[in-house]
C-alpha cells in the first residue's frame, strides 16, 4: 500500500507548498486590500484542496487498492490529512477575517470628541433672565405681577406720587415729554397708583417695566432702562416688613448669607424713606476678592441697590385709602444697574446694542 500512501503524502506535500504563503502569516503592516486579496487566494486554495472534488478526496478512491487489513489505517491517514488541510485553511481564514474586520472597524472609527451636531440655541436677554428670577421669587411670596403704561399723564407720573408742580424732581430736566404733554414714565412707581386704583387695598404687587430719563448714553447712563417696583399695603405694615421683604428676596437670589443695610434717604412718595444696600455677592462683604479690590462693590463690601420707604400718606390718599387705617411699604430698583454689578459690565450700553456676542454669554 506504500504507493497509495505515497500518493496521499504527495497531496499533502502539494498542499503544504501551495499553502506556504498562508502557513505563517504576518499581517502586521499589511493593507486591507492586500489582506483581502490574500483571503481571495485562500478561497481558491480552499476550493482546490477541500471538498469532494479535491485531490485529497480523490485519494479515498485509492482505498480499493489497499489490502483489506490496511484499509482502516489508510482511511485514517486520508482523513487526518483531510482534516489537517481543512484546519490549516480555517485557521488562516480566521486570521485573515479577524484582520479584515479590525481594519474595517478601524477605518470607520470616528473622533467622538468632535462637537455634536447641536442646533445653536438662542438666549434670553439678560434683563429678562433677571426679571423672571425676581418675579418667580415674589410670586412665591404672594405678590401679583403688574404691568402698565409706559407713557403717562403728569398725574400718574408726578401728582399722585406726591410730586407737585414746582417740586425739584419734577422740574429737573430728567423727564421726556411728548409733544402733546404726556410724560414717558420716569419711574415704575406710577404702577403703585394704577394698581391700587384697580385692585384697592390690601395689595401686594411688583411691577417690572421700562422707564425713561433724559440721560445721554454713556458708560454708566442710558435713556431707557428697567425697574422693578414693589408695593405692599395692608393694616399694620411697618418698616420692619419692608426690611424683611427686601432681605428675603435678596437672600433667595444671592444666598442665605446675604445681609442688607437700610440708610435714611428721601423720596417724595415715601416717608420715612430708605435706600437699601446688600452685602456684596462676590466678596461677601469683605471688599476683597481674587486677592484684589472686589470689582462689583468697588471694595466697599456693599452694593447700593435701590430706594424704598413707607408709602407717603398723600399717595394713599390719592387712591382713596385712609392712611390712618392702612400703611404700606414700597421699594424700587434698576435692573440694568443690578446686571452691571452682577456681571461686572463696564459699559451699560451693551444692554441695548443687541450684539449677539454679548447676548450669548447669558442663559
Amino acid at each position: 500500500m506504500s504507493d497509495e500512501r505515497d500518493k496521499v503524502e504527495a497531496v499533502r506535500t502539494a498542499f503544504t507548498e501551495e499553502f506556504a504563503p498562508y502557513a505563517d502569516l504576518r499581517l502586521d503592516g499589511m493593507s486591507l486590500s492586500d489582506v483581502e486579496s490574500l483571503l481571495r487566494g485562500l478561497g481558491e486554495l480552499k476550493i482546490k484542496h477541500s471538498g469532494k472534488k479535491s485531490a485529497i478526496a480523490a485519494t479515498m478512491k485509492l482505498i480499493g487498492g489497499v489490502a483489506p487489513e490496511e484499509r482502516g489505517a489508510f482511511g485514517q491517514l486520508v482523513q487526518s490529512v483531510e482534516k489537517e488541510i481543512a484546519n490549516s485553511i480555517e485557521a488562516a481564514e480566521a486570521g485573515l477575517n479577524a484582520f479584515i474586520l479590525n481594519a474595517k472597524l478601524e477605518r470607520e472609527r470616528i473622533d467622538v470628541t468632535l462637537p455634536g451636531r447641536r442646533p445653536r440655541a438662542g438666549h434670553l436677554h439678560l434683563i429678562t433672565i433677571l426679571r423672571q428670577q425676581i418675579e418667580d421669587i415674589f410670586v412665591s411670596m404672594g405678590y401679583a405681577i403688574e404691568n402698565d403704561r409706559e407713557i403717562e399723564t403728569d398725574y400718574y407720573n408726578f401728582d399722585a406720587l406726591n410730586i407737585p408742580e414746582g417740586h425739584p424732581a419734577r422740574e429737573s430736566q430728567d423727564t421726556f415729554y411728548t409733544t402733546n404733554g404726556f410724560a414717558l414714565r420716569s419711574q415704575t412707581s406710577t404702577v403703585q397708583i394704577r394698581a391700587m386704583e384697580r385692585r384697592g387695598v390690601p395689595i401686594r404687587i411688583i411691577a417690572p417695566g421700562k422707564v425713561f430719563r433724559r440721560d445721554t448714553p454713556d458708560m454708566t447712563h442710558v435713556p431707557m432702562f428697567h425697574q422693578i417696583e414693589g408695593l405692599c399695603v395692608d393694616k399694620g405694615i411697618t418698616m420692619a416688613h419692608l426690611k424683611g421683604t427686601v432681605t428675603e428676596w435678596l437672600q433667595r437670589l444671592f444666598g442665605d448669607d446675604t445681609i442688607t443695610r437700610f440708610r435714611p434717604s428721601y423720596f417724595p412718595f415715601t416717608e420715612p424713606s430708605a435706600e437699601f444696600d446688600f452685602s456684596c455677592f462676590k466678596c461677601h462683604g469683605t471688599g476683597r476678592s481674587d486677592n484684589d479690590r472686589c470689582r462689583p462693590c468697588k471694595g466697599s463690601g456693599w452694593i447700593e441697590l435701590g430706594g424704598s420707604g413707607m408709602v407717603h400718606p398723600n399717595v394713599l390718599r390719592a387712591v382713596g385709602v385712609d392712611p390712618t387705617e392702612y400703611s404700606g411699604f414700597a421699594f424700587g430698583f434698576g435692573l440694568e444697574r443690578m446686571c452691571a454689578m452682577m456681571y461686572a459690565l463696564d459699559d451699560i450700553r451693551l444692554m441695548f446694542d443687541n450684539d449677539v456676542r454679548f447676548l450669548e454669554q447669558f442663559r
Partner: protein
C-alpha cells in the same frame, strides 16, 4: 458736597475720627461717599438728598452730628450785636418793591476795605472743599456760605448808582452783564437787585460785573437776603444759570440766620480786610410763621410705621435736638396730643410722618426689626405672562436671541414700515426732544430696532442671525388729549443660515418658510394654533415674498423678506426676513382645551399626487378644497414638495401632496384605496381645473 473735618471741629467738639464721623452721618441719612486727606485736614464727600438744604453747610452737618453725639454746638461769638438801623433810615439805602419775591433783605456798608489776597488759613479751608481763592472779600462771602449755609453778595458801593439798593422785578428786556461776563436779558418775572438806575445783580443767582468787587474797591455793601424759592428756581431755569447761591436759595435757606451770617462775614471783613462796619439794615416785610405739625401720639405713630419702640420722651428729645420744638400739654401730662414746630432751617417737616422719619433715622434704621408681612393670598403672574414665557422659551430653544432696543427711534423710518393692526402708521407719538440725535419718535414698529441690531452684528462679522424682541409700540391716542395707544408686539428677524454650536460650517440657508415656521412655532407655544398667511403687498417687504399673518381670519401682523430698497439703505447684501405681530390682539384668546382622540386601530395607506398648477395658484386653496372631501376613509393631507424647472412649463409648478386613507374598523385594500384616491384626484382636478402630473 465737600465738608472739612477741621472746620466741623471749629463748630462742634467731637471726639470722633473722620471715618467715624462718616459712618455716623451715613447712618442718619447724610451719605458720606468718600473721605480723602487734604494737608492736615480730611474732606468728607457727602451726597445730600434734595430735602436737606439745611445741611449744605458745615453748620448744618455739625447740627446733625450734635444730635448724634448729644453735643451742643460751639457758640460763635458775633462781634456786632447791635440793634439794626431804624426802618426809616434803612429805607434810604434799601427799598423792597417786590416783597412777594423777597421775604427779607439785610445790608451793611463796610468802609475803607483793603482788597487783597486772603490769609493762608482761609485759602486752605476753601481749597480743602474744592473752592478757588479770589480775593479776601470774595473769599469771605464764599467762606461764610459754606460755613453757615447762607449765600451773600458783596457790592462795590461806589459803583452803585445813587449808593442805594432797590429790590424790584426786572423790566422786560432789561439787561445785565453778570460776573461770568455774559450779557443776560431779564424779564418781569425775575427779581433784580438794582441801584438807582439799573440791575446790579440777578437776585439770589449772580452779581453784576459792573458793581463787583475789584482791587480798587474801598467801600463794600454786603447783601444777605432771603428770596422766594420758586422764583429763584424759575429764574435760574430761564437764564440757564445755576450757581452755588441759586442752588441753596431754591431749596431754602434759614431766614433767621441772615443776621448771624451777615455778622460773621462783617467780622471777617473787618479782621482780614481792615474794614469798618456801619449799621446793619434789616428789612423783613413778611415774617412767616411755621405751621405746627400735630401729633396725637408720636411714639405710637413711630411704632405703627417703623415697628420701633421709642418712648415719647425719647422722641421729643431727638426732635428737640434737631430744633423741632414741641408744646407740652399743660393740663394733662398723660395727654399725648402735641404740636411740633420745625426750625426755620428745615423746609421738609410738614406732617407727622416727617417727624417719624426724623426720630427713626436717629433711633437708627439698623434697630428696626426684620420680619415678613403676615401671609396673604397666593401670588399671581400677569394674565399672559405664562404664555409669553412659553413663547420666549420656544424662540430661545429654536435659536433666537432676545433683543431689547430703545423705544424711541429716528424719524427717518416714518412711513417706511407697515405697522401692525392696532397701531397707526401715520398718527405717531413724538417727543419734544431726545438725547439721541433724531430719535424723537416713539416707535410704531419694533423692526427698525431689530434692523439696527442686524447692522451692528453684520459689522462684527456675525452674518447668521435670528433675533426677536417683545415690547411696546406706540401711536397717538384717539384725540389730542388722549393718552397714546400702547400695544405689546413681537418682532423677529432672520438672516443667513442655520448654525450649530461650536461648528464653523453652517447648515441650510434660511428662507421665508423658516420665518413663517418660527412665527407659527412662537404663536403655537402661546396657545395660538390657527395661524394662516396670505399673500399681500406690504410697504417694507419684497413683493412676492410678503404675507399677512392671520389668526382666526383677522390680520394680526406681517411677515416676509425685507424689501430691496430697505435692504439697500441698510447695506444688507443677503436676504433678511422679518415678522411682526400685535400680541395684544391674540394673547387674550382662549386656549383650546385638548380632547383625546382614540388611536387608530388599523394602519393607514398614503398616496402622493402631484398637480400641475399655475404659478399664482396657492397651496392653501388646494388644501381648502381637499378639506371639503374629508370624512369617510380620506383622513389627511400633507405638503410634500413644490417643483418648478425642467419638464414643467414656464408658468407652472408641480405641487405634490400626500393623502392618507384609513378605516376605523378594518385594513383597507390597495384596490379600495386606489379607487378612492383616483376619485379624489379627479374631483379636485375638475373643481380647480388642474391636472395630476403624469
Amino acid at each position: 458736597m465737600n465738608i472739612s473735618y477741621n472746620w466741623l471741629k471749629d463748630l462742634i467738639n467731637v471726639e470722633l475720627s473722620p471715618i467715624e464721623v462718616g459712618e455716623q452721618l451715613t447712618r442718619v441719612g447724610l451719605a458720606v461717599e468718600g473721605i480723602h486727606e487734604f494737608g492736615n485736614d480730611f474732606v468728607l464727600d457727602i451726597d445730600l438728598t434734595s430735602n436737606r438744604p439745611d445741611c449744605l453747610s458745615h453748620l448744618g452737618v455739625a447740627r446733625e452730628l450734635g444730635v448724634i453725639t448729644e453735643t451742643p454746638l460751639n457758640e460763635r461769638a458775633a462781634k456786632y450785636r447791635e440793634v439794626p438801623l431804624p426802618a426809616v433810615l434803612a429805607g434810604e439805602v434799601v427799598t423792597i418793591e417786590a416783597p412777594e419775591l423777597c421775604n427779607r433783605f439785610t445790608a451793611r456798608i463796610i468802609r475803607n476795605v483793603k482788597i487783597g489776597p486772603s490769609p493762608q488759613w482761609l485759602v486752605d479751608r476753601l481749597e480743602a472743599i474744592g473752592e478757588r481763592s479770589i480775593n479776601n472779600v470774595a473769599d469771605i462771602t464764599n467762606y461764610v456760605m459754606h460755613e453757615l449755609g447762607q449765600p451773600m453778595h458783596a457790592f462795590d458801593l461806589d459803583k452803585l448808582a445813587g449808593g442805594r439798593i432797590i429790590v424790584r422785578r426786572a423790566k422786560d428786556g432789561e439787561t445785565i452783564t453778570t460776573l461770568d461776563e455774559v450779557e443776560r436779558t431779564l424779564s418781569e418775572s425775575m427779581l433784580a437787585i438794582c441801584d438807582a438806575e439799573k440791575p446790579a445783580a440777578v437776585a439770589g443767582i449772580m452779581g453784576g460785573l459792573g458793581s463787583s468787587i475789584s482791587d480798587d474797591t474801598v467801600n463794600v455793601l454786603l447783601e444777605v437776603a432771603y428770596f422766594d424759592r420758586e422764583n429763584i428756581r424759575a429764574t435760574s431755569r430761564k437764564l440757564n444759570l445755576a450757581t452755588e447761591a441759586s442752588y441753596r436759595f431754591e431749596r431754602g435757606v434759614d431766614v433767621e440766620n441772615l443776621i448771624n451770617a451777615s455778622n460773621r462775614a462783617t467780622q471777617l471783613i473787618c479782621d482780614l480786610a481792615d474794614g469798618s462796619a456801619g449799621d446793619l439794615i434789616d428789612i423783613y416785610p413778611v415774617k412767616k410763621s411755621a405751621i405746627p405739625v400735630i401729633s396725637n401720639d408720636i411714639s405710637g405713630t413711630v411704632r405703627r410705621l417703623t415697628g420701633l419702640a421709642v418712648a415719647a420722651k425719647d422722641c421729643i428729645r431727638i426732635l428737640s435736638a434737631l430744633g423741632i420744638r414741641s408744646s407740652e400739654s399743660e393740663t394733662d401730662p398723660e395727654d399725648q396730643l402735641r404740636e411740633f414746630l420745625s426750625p426755620t432751617w428745615r423746609h421738609d417737616i410738614a406732617i407727622e410722618e416727617d417727624l417719624v422719619e426724623e426720630i427713626a433715622r436717629h433711633a437708627g434704621y439698623e434697630n428696626i426689626g426684620t420680619e415678613l408681612p403676615p401671609a396673604y393670598g397666593a401670588g399671581e403672574y400677569q394674565a399672559n405672562e405664562q404664555r409669553l414665557k412659553r413663547l420666549r422659551q420656544t424662540l430661545t430653544d429654536t435659536g433666537f436671541d432676545e433683543a431689547i432696543s430703545y423705544s424711541f427711534i429716528d424719524t427717518k423710518y416714518d412711513g417706511k414700515f407697515k405697522t401692525v393692526p392696532g397701531i397707526s402708521q401715520t398718527d405717531l407719538v413724538t417727543l419734544n426732544d431726545s438725547v439721541i440725535e433724531g430719535a424723537v419718535r416713539m416707535r410704531p414698529t419694533l423692526i427698525p430696532g431689530l434692523l439696527a441690531a442686524v447692522r451692528h452684528n453684520f459689522n462684527q462679522q456675525r452674518r447668521n442671525l435670528k433675533l426677536y424682541e417683545i415690547g411696546k409700540a406706540f401711536s397717538a391716542g384717539d384725540g389730542y388729549d388722549e393718552l397714546p395707544n400702547e400695544k405689546e408686539l413681537l418682532a423677529m428677524v432672520l438672516t443667513g443660515s442655520e448654525t450649530y454650536e461650536d461648528r464653523a460650517m453652517t447648515g441650510r440657508e434660511l428662507d421665508f418658510f423658516d420665518a413663517k415656521g418660527s412665527v407659527e412655532a412662537a404663536l403655537s407655544a402661546a396657545g395660538i394654533e390657527n395661524v394662516k398667511c396670505s399673500a399681500d403687498m406690504i410697504d417694507h417687504l419684497r413683493p412676492g415674498q410678503s404675507a399677512d399673518i392671520k389668526v382666526g381670519g383677522e390680520t394680526v401682523g406681517y411677515l416676509g423678506r425685507l424689501s430691496d430698497e430697505i435692504s439697500a439703505t441698510n447695506k444688507f447684501r443677503q436676504p433678511v426676513f422679518v415678522a411682526e405681530v400685535n400680541l395684544d390682539l391674540i394673547l387674550d384668546a382662549d386656549v383650546k382645551t385638548v380632547v383625546y382622540k382614540p388611536l387608530p386601530k388599523f394602519p393607514g395607506i398614503s398616496r402622493d399626487v402631484s398637480f400641475i398648477v399655475k404659478r399664482n395658484d396657492v397651496y392653501s386653496d388646494l388644501v381648502a378644497e381637499l378639506e371639503t372631501l374629508k370624512g369617510g376613509h380620506f383622513r389627511d393631507v400633507k405638503f410634500v414638495d413644490i417643483y418648478e424647472g425642467a419638464g414643467i412649463a414656464e408658468d407652472e409648478r408641480s405641487l405634490t401632496v400626500r393623502l392618507e386613507y384609513r378605516s376605523d374598523d378594518r385594513t383597507l385594500t390597495e384596490a379600495e384605496v386606489e379607487a378612492l384616491h383616483d376619485q379624489i384626484v379627479k374631483t379636485i382636478g375638475e373643481k380647480l381645473g388642474i391636472h395630476p402630473r403624469i
